[in-house]
Amino acid sequence: MSIGKSEVEYISRLAMIDVAENEVEQVSAKLSKVLDLFAQMEAVNTEGVEPMAHPHDVQQRLRADEITETDQHEKLQSVAPATAKDMYLVPQVIE
């Protein structure tokens, strides 16, 4: 299966990863190869097989409703690229 330019652009938007004009061809060629690998699955009859999301058939443990976290914003923001007034900064969002 081959992936065209418009599909690469769509995937780039979904993945939120810029794909430069001169990379499109190579990216599409390699993605196409991976999809060829997936094509092997098509022929297999999986009727009646339940999808498996986890190795074990166990259920979610629930946490007691207690406040266990303290204010760590200084430490946590020490690794942030840009902050002001204890907030994370991004280019202006227009709504």
């Binding site: 390699k30 997936f38 699955m41 190795p55 690794v79 942030a80």
Partner: protein, 485 residues
């Protein structure tokens, strides 16, 4: 020479006061500064932290609060968050990330008193089978500097093989402990999914990721697994059950052990030398009292496509948090929000990581979810059921870890799918969540080859004992490349 001692001997000498942890730690730090520049197995070396922890370990050794691993240095794969230490996952994206907390595994091994020598190199975000996708350059195989050490825990395998650490941690999502262990001639075990807490381990594919020990011998892996695995309520997928003493059955006889040998694991594509080594190793285990039985894993070929849909799908979502806002790489002068996202991620991630994110996003996208994601989940169950059925006829399954010994650096980088297909023996084990181990079993063309031992859920102690018994009658695990002896 201290590095030629087994961990057991080191521990005895530490407890007897014949050597100190500081001495031992300094010895390894010396070796790292001498040998690591050519191997590139460490991303970060932490001498101050190591020595401070070694001093604390020496205190414990004196005051009687030391355990078997107290004072033994350890190297952590750079995927384990380590408080105050750069934790990069070998990515430019996290090149500036000083973790503000410890992974649960790191906490436990600190508690055990193991000084941290540093953080080992790996494939970026654990996505790869050769450690070549690291932002910091490839790690080299100590047995042959032209060869890859395997991946993604290639740095961890290399530091054990070259005696740049006595013990190391690794993670295994599709074979990332076992395959580098095989390529570097060391012992590594991936425990049953849910045995070791994933808290603080940078996620690649959550329903597959599992941490485990990488050491020279099976006995050492058993001790380390004892120290690493403990129920942790912060990881919802960590199993709430008593962990056995993984070293308790190390003396058991292999009499009556039923070894399943799947015909599918010895078919086309398997290097004849590797095949011979694996068959000889199984014959050796038969001599120890085991019998073999032929088993079938009919859906073996479906494992690779299933995994390469599911793992990238989970990864595409797990890696969305790297957006240049709260931590990690942020592009220069973003024009607007979209630009900030798209460029930070395009510049911060390497080619293979981007490819898997894009593949994963595609597999989950409208119109493809059923054909790719759901189908792959159904195949996952079929592959798992193959093993469950096989385990009705045998106690463990044995075969190769990889179809070939370590390949050359650069050999497979142009064709990602050829690299994916080389994971065919390890991936099914991750799909099922079973424990799997690689034990050194010989050399092909001068490069190590491991024996793959896979068991049903919670059979780690049995696997480790099989490895241990094998290592009582073989010395493959004691081999060290000439220049690192």
């Amino acid at each position: 020479m201290l590095h030629t001692l087994s961990v057991k001997q080191m521990s005895e000498k530490l407890h007897a006061g014949e050597i100190s942890s500081v001495e031992l730690t300094l010895h390894y730090l010396d070796r790292i500064s001498k040998y690591d520049p050519e191997l590139n197995a460490y991303v970060t070396v932490t001498p101050e932290l190591a020595l401070e922890m070694a001093r604390e370990a020496d205190e414990r050794l004196k005051n009687g609060t030391a355990g078997i691993l107290t004072g033994i240095p350890v190297a952590h794969k750079d995927i384990f968050c380590t408080d105050g230490v750069k934790t990069s996952c070998s990515s430019k994206m996290l090149d500036n990330f000083i973790a503000p907390y410890d992974a649960h595994v790191v906490t436990l091994l600190k508690k055990a008193g193991m000084p941290i020598l540093g953080k080992t190199n790996m494939d970026e975000f654990a996505m790869g089978s050769s450690s070549e996708s690291s932002y910091y350059g490839p790690t080299k195989n100590p047995w042959d500097l032209n060869a890859v050490p395997g991946g993604s825990s290639g740095g961890a395998a290399a530091v054990i093989a070259a005696n740049l650490a006595p013990m190391a941690t690794g993670t295994d999502t599709g074979g990332s402990i076992r395959q580098p262990a095989s390529f570097c001639g060391i012992t590594g075990i991936k425990p049953t999914y849910g045995t070791v807490s994933r808290f603080g381990i940078i996620a690649y594919a959550s329903s597959f990721d599992q941490a485990g020990p990488m050491t020279r011998s099976a006995e050492e892996s058993a001790w380390m697994l004892n120290a690493m695995s403990e129920f942790d309520q912060r990881d919802s997928t960590c199993l709430e059950m008593e962990r056995p003493d993984f070293a308790a059955s190390l003396g058991d006889s292999l009499d009556g052990l039923k070894v399943g040998v799947p015909a599918e694991y010895f078919g086309e594509g398997l290097d004849p030398e590797v095949e011979k080594i694996v068959k000889d190793a199984i014959a050796e285990i038969e001599k120890l009292g085991a019998t073999t039985v032929s088993v079938s894993l009919p859906n073996k070929d479906l494992a690779v496509p299933s995994y390469y849909v599911l793992a990238p799908a989970e990864a595409s979502s797990n890696l969305s948090r790297y957006d240049g806002v709260r931590f990690g790489y942020r592009c220069e002068n973003p024009a607007d929000l979209q630009d900030l996202y798209k460029r930070s991620r395009a510049e911060g991630f390497g080619a293979e990581v981007k490819r898997r994110i894009m593949v994963g996003a595609y597999a989950l996208s409208a119109g493809y979810y059923d054909a790719y994601y759901l189908k792959a989940q159904r195949l996952r169950r079929m592959v798992r059921d193959d093993f469950t059925n096989a385990f009705e006829q045998c106690d463990v399954i044995m075969g190769p870890v990889a179809p070939t010994p370590a390949f050359n650096i650069g050999e497979k980088t142009d064709d990602p799918t050829s690299m994916y297909l080389a994971d065919l023996y390890t991936i099914p084990v991750n799909l099922g969540g079973f424990p799997g181990m690689s034990v050194p079993a010989g050399f092909a063309k001068g490069r190590p080859v491991g024996l793959h031992i896979v068991g049903p859920y919670f059979s780690e102690a049995k696997l480790l004992n099989i490895g241990h018994q094998f290592q009582q009658v073989t010395d493959w695990h004691k081999q060290v490349p000439a220049q690192y002896q």
